[in-house]
Symmetry: C2
């Protein structure tokens, strides 16, 4: 199989100031194209580090994809080191120079400075990959039958280059395997219980189909991966295993596609032509953000009231002040009243509400940090859950959001939808 190493360059990765999202995206796209990423390595902006990794990775990989270290500033030394490794020297690439000038005169409308012009210099030994989204060109090298490609670290520039040039080049040049995945998402069951529940299924899988558990935020994703030299019967075989797996986990199944909970919810609402709104206290807009991160969500999402302050709960969601003083903001009664207020004010079929103590401060003996009430409902019925988390603020917010979106999904599925209900499937 054709092997790829992904190398990301930059001191910021080694001191942890930046989280590397590029290489995950690259791995995903390469995988879809039938290439196997054998290793992802992050190194610093040091000459020796770069030279060493090029030597080491090229011993086992067929292709080395690099990102980062191509900026206009002095700490970006990748190009100089590539010249050294490929025994080459910097020359101006006219097309890249034209591109830099265009970006400054037509798009940024700022004067060009010396360091910007230097971005058009590339090692003479490389084949240039033009950057349609930024100033730093990509560079493709070949040495001892290995391919080396250097791309800028700016995510949308790298992504454009990968999609438009790098992946088409690799598919044309190398034999790619046939790799296929099936992924489903479960909620409400832990990884080990799930593994126990499907252990017979797992041990009965043929050798070329692998099962992986991907736990995250109260949900577990299960992935079947098959690979072979030819497609042939592989897809059918994978479909069969996947159908069996779905049946085994149907009690906890959120979706049988490789999508997020919020995408699954969006599909459900689009299909049912129904609408939602959110009334958020402790999640502070995060539930609305998850919903609106999906393109087309304006078709089913009307809006939200983020009622951080109790006055907001009274005024914007008509929560009874007497109820608030009797039970407090973090209570079953309050989240119920918030759902009622949201449905009335925002005129949606369904609404969700959250109220809790996310920490680190604000807890009491009766209601410690991590205490959360959530509610979902429509004009006829409201259901609630009390949650208790032990994590940090960010994680508590994320887990609350996931829980309330999943509770909403289950609630929606439980509600009749006139004549269309029988078509709904799961």
């Amino acid at each position: 199989m054709t092997n790829i190493s992904i190398v990301t360059i930059g001191d910021e990765l080694l001191i942890g100031q930046v989280i590397d999202t590029n290489s995950a995206w690259m791995a995903q796209e390469l995988n879809k194209a039938g290439f196997w990423v054998r290793r992802r390595v992050a190194i610093g902006d040091g000459r020796d580090d770069i030279l060493n990794i090029l030597r080491e990775e090229s011993a086992d990989a067929d292709i080395i994809l690099m990102t980062g270290g191509l900026g206009p500033t002095a700490d970006d030394i990748t190009k100089a080191v590539l010249c050294e490794y490929f025994n080459s020297n910097l020359v101006v690439n006219e097309e890249a120079l034209e591109n830099v000038k265009n970006i400054f005169t037509k798009i940024l409308r700022r004067p060009i400075i010396e360091s910007n012009l230097k971005q058009a210099e590339v090692p003479a030994a490389c084949q240039v990959i033009q950057n349609k989204r930024g100033t730093a060109p990509g560079m493709l090298f070949e040495k001892n039958k290995k391919i080396y490609i250097s791309m800028p670290g700016v995510p949308h520039e790298m992504k454009g280059m990968m999609t438009d040039d790098v992946i088409p080049f690799l598919k044309n040049r190398f034999v790619s395997d046939y790799i296929s995945h099936r992924t489903l998402l479960t909620a409400g069951i832990g990884e080990s219980s799930l593994a126990d529940h499907i252990s017979k299924f797992e041990s009965g899988l043929p050798a070329h189909i692998k099962l992986a558990y991907l736990p995250g935020y109260g949900m577990v994703r299960l992935r079947l991966t098959a690979n072979a030299a030819q497609a042939d019967s592989l897809e059918r075989e994978l479909d069969l295993s996947f159908a069996n797996l779905k049946l085994l986990v149907k009690e906890w199944l959120v979706t049988d596609e490789d999508i997020t909970l919020q995408e699954a919810l969006g599909k459900l609402l689009t299909y049912r032509k129904q609408t939602i709104s959110t009334a958020e206290s402790c999640t502070g807009g995060y539930v609305a953000h998850l919903i609106t991160s999906i393109p087309g969500s304006s078709a089913y999402f009307h809006g939200s009231v983020i009622a951080y302050d109790n006055e907001m709960k009274k005024k914007m969601l008509s929560v009874d002040p007497a109820l608030l003083s009797a039970h407090g903001a973090v209570s079953e009664e309050t989240v119920k009243a918030m759902v009622i207020g949201a449905i009335r004010q925002m005129k949606t079929d369904f609404a969700v509400a959250t109220s809790g103590i996310m920490g680190p401060g604000g807890g009491s003996e009766e209601k410690p940090v991590g205490t959360v009430w959530i509610a979902v409902g429509d004009a006829h019925e409201i259901i609630t859950r009390k949650l208790w988390f032990r994590f940090d603020r960010q994680r508590n917010i994320e887990l609350t959001a996931i829980n309330v979106l999943n509770l909403l999904r289950i609630f929606i599925l439980s509600r009749p939808l006139q004549s269309r209900l029988k078509d709904l499937g799961n």
Copy 2:
């Protein structure tokens, strides 16, 4: 200097289904403790991959920290491979077994299954690091004077183990360098212009102080890093360089601490004892989420109206329907009206508003995808900006949020605050 390699294990990292946030956090903490991470590597759940990386990394690194591959499921093979590498065999660790039993009987209140009990098995050659937050114990090995530590991949379990056990052990065992950072955040100037502006400063820095540019979301973070065997005069020297740098970039300075824009805004509002609210259309709650991700934000954040639907803009923010039909939702007039509505409805000192077309659909010739209007203001004045982005939906949302929060910060600083104004500093 003591060198560390971080190795993360799991096929999910190589097919890109998971973004590795663990190693960035680890690098940050190790750096604070004076250790240098030389390399971060992600590999798959394969026997050979794990054995090879242990051999390769131990050639140059003093310490190899591993995470992942310790789950209760069949795809997690790290322990078996560690037995092979260290020529050892699995034995039950009584304390770890007690811990697993406790977690199931006292916290999860679920029956223990066979695979959970197996989590208490460890290679006989290791020293166990007890896991106070989960079932998989950590393992410490020594071979040819190199230290190998294997930790679970679940972030809060790994973090607890690092803080409580691993870092104290390393500090005790190895000589750590003295490393110190100073970081500031700028907005409104590109990386290359900034580099040009401070090029003399950069070239005048002593050899043991390095300057790094960390661009992200319309902002550039500048970091000075110094390292030496002793602290001595290093801190003073670094302070002096940092003071010079701050002076040079003062026009674009957001904060001279290593904090986010939303944290800087929170500090400003807390100091001024003033309050904010948001009226969001295209950002869909993301601005509110950024604000409320900061502990203690309830002191200055009242709430938000997420008015995705135009009816919401009219009803909850009193935007004049005639204005909406005359100018459309994505217009200067609408965001101004949203700010006025937010301040009146939510009774805050300041408010921000966003309205735009985030894509991929919804654009027109007059207002293409990426067109955004933002506004910030108080009861006396409102300022607006038109933005135009060319990116994907997620990035457009994030950039809009960052722009509106920074505009708010600048607006707040421009407003007099009675007697306290002169103490404000920057």
